[in-house]
Symmetry: C2
DNA sequence: CTGAAAGCGCTAACAT
DNA sequence: ATGTTAGCGCTTTCAG
């Protein structure tokens, strides 16, 4: 690795002269600047980032901790985060918590020793279930900023990026009601998560407000380890008058659609289905699944922005919570309502 | 941030005493060790990673550059890499090349300044098409080790992890031939990639060897930007005697299956389909898609292992190329052949 | 215009 | 058993 010292020795000048020259300092003669730069280029000199980080107590690196990278939502969020971070001159160090509280705590611990300037994270399921956020608060107390996205916690006083989960599910349910559906079922495999609960509330609220709707809400909560396919199959078997399905996670909607097609439901005439996901994910079904779009790219981008602002002291004192809009995208598994 | 200096001042000892005490040095009295450790714990001291990296000229960080994180194969590889790296005490910095040569070169450049000890990467499509690997060779010449996986290049002399693409496609085609298929079509949207070409060769070779097979090979290469759905629809329209399909990328098989079902093909009696992907990805179709499994987790794990070995000088002088086994997983879109 | 020196936080060889 | 010093690569103040 080529260092300033190497350049200095070659040119018979001091290290500080080289450093200044490379920064176009006024103190250095144009002639010297040119010679230094020429040699630097020739030897492919690159300033050692670690040394600069140490000097500046700033790494220009963001720690990103996500629960599960195989979940398309998080993969896409990570994509957006990487993109925006790179645009802002930051690298990202990625850790996967695998939904485990312990791994999450370890990652936080591991990186909070000067490796990163701040964190962007979405809370592990176990952390949410047990409401154990001490490890996260410990980081905040060290004045290392954190931006939470999607899965957040009220116990944590930091910047957050969320979507209007309640409103999104409310709107989707409303749409099915306007279609005239009488037996609307909600399916969820994320009832343990804050976002899952909010979406369920939105569904319940919509049904409640629609006073012509006389049937009880039907909620299918699929636990970890249970088979989505079996639960869905059971639904169709025991409740064949179902005419509307809202899936509030990003897979069960597809499973329900496939099952319904196999059972020869006429979609959307006889049964409407709405999924919950990112814009383009679920459209490869046939018929294309109608979905509540989460605008994942915006979520990731905004998270980076909030963190960068915080790191540059461009943020207000109190924490900011950004809500990213959702969209109900009506494709082929819902009826048109005018 | 708490430093050794802080601890030293509090305890009225020197910095080096503190350092040694924390490392259980024999030179230090048990009593002092205890006092130092107690205070360190109390103040939640964590050694500054940046300083250690600078001191050791070693970051314990791996740069991972992947072409596209939204491709499930790469997401899963990244997952495996992160997991194994973490197990070995390494962090990973992730960059996404977006299939672009320039972004790939930038990421390499950006991180090769001491930020990482080595790289794990899969080459961007543009890089493969244009055979422009100078930027990668430049890194190798600086003695920064690189492990390539999946998409590799013969121009690069470094450790590699690949699968037997040729053999895998060969075996899959063979299976369809044993089923007695007479009109076997190959679909690919990755003809630009080395792995795509190898898989196609395997298909051709199998047909060629099977001398009872009289029909010409039919290869559908889907270019970037073309619609897979349309090309597949066109296939069924113009070649309705098709009775076997091999998809060598990880999406077109699903599309073909959906289309065939819609056209009321009887699967697998009338038409067999084999996809190419990771073990568990494509099984959510109904009927479950038979696939060539790539054992992505093993690929990622092995890549880390090769790099770590190289970094610890545990590798042979000449470069090692590991081939990860594939599996033909026969599920419900192929017939049983005894 | 150029150079010497200090310091970021840590380790390790070398005193005492 | 403890302390001093030097150095990793860089920037920056202060001196010449």
């Amino acid at each position: 690795m080529v260092t300033l010292k190497h350049l200095a020795e070659q040119l018979n000048v001091s290290v500080s002269t080289v450093s200044k020259a490379l920064h176009d300092s006024e103190e250095i003669s144009p002639d010297t600047i040119e010679r230094v730069k020429a040699l630097a280029k020739y030897l492919n000199y690159k300033p050692n980032k670690v040394a600069i980080s140490l000097k500046n107590s700033k790494t220009n690196t963001i720690g990103v901790i996500i629960p599960n990278i195989l979940n398309h939502f998080f993969a896409k969020a990570l994509y957006a985060i990487e993109k925006q971070a790179s645009k802002q001159g930051y690298s990202i160090i990625t850790c996967v918590s695998n939904e485990q509280n312990l791994k999450e705590a370890n990652s936080l611990q591991l990186l909070s020793n000067g490796s990163v300037d701040g964190f962007i994270m979405s809370i592990a399921e176990e952390t949410q279930l047990k409401q154990q956020t001490d490890h996260i608060n410990a980081i905040l107390q060290q004045n290392i900023p954190i931006v939470l996205f999607d899965r957040v916690s009220d116990d944590l006083d930091c910047d957050k990026v969320i979507i209007d989960d309640f409103g999104a599910a409310y709107e989707a349910t409303k749409h099915l009601l306007l279609e005239g559906r009488k037996h609307i079922v909600l399916i969820s495999d994320i009832d343990g998560l804050s976002v899952g609960k909010l979406r369920t509330s939105g569904y319940l609220k919509a049904l409640e407000e629609h006073f012509e709707y006389n049937n009880k809400p039907v909620i299918i909560n699929i636990e970890k380890g249970e088979s989505i396919e079996e639960r869905v199959a059971y639904l169709f078997k025991t409740y064949n008058s179902v005419d509307g399905i809202i899936s509030v996670d990003n897979t069960s909607g597809v499973v329900a659609l496939q099952k319904a097609l196999k059972l020869n439901y006429n979609i959307p005439e006889q049964l409407s289905i709405i999924g919950f996901s990112d814009e383009n994910v679920l459209q490869f079904t046939d018929p294309k699944l109608s979905t509540i779009s989460q605008h994942t790219l915006d979520i990731g981008k905004e998270a980076v922005q909030l963190l960068v602002n915080r790191l540059s002291n461009n943020s207000p004192d109190n924490k900011v919570i950004t809500t990213i809009k959702t969209n109900l995208i009506l494709r082929e598994t819902t009826k048109i309502v005018k």
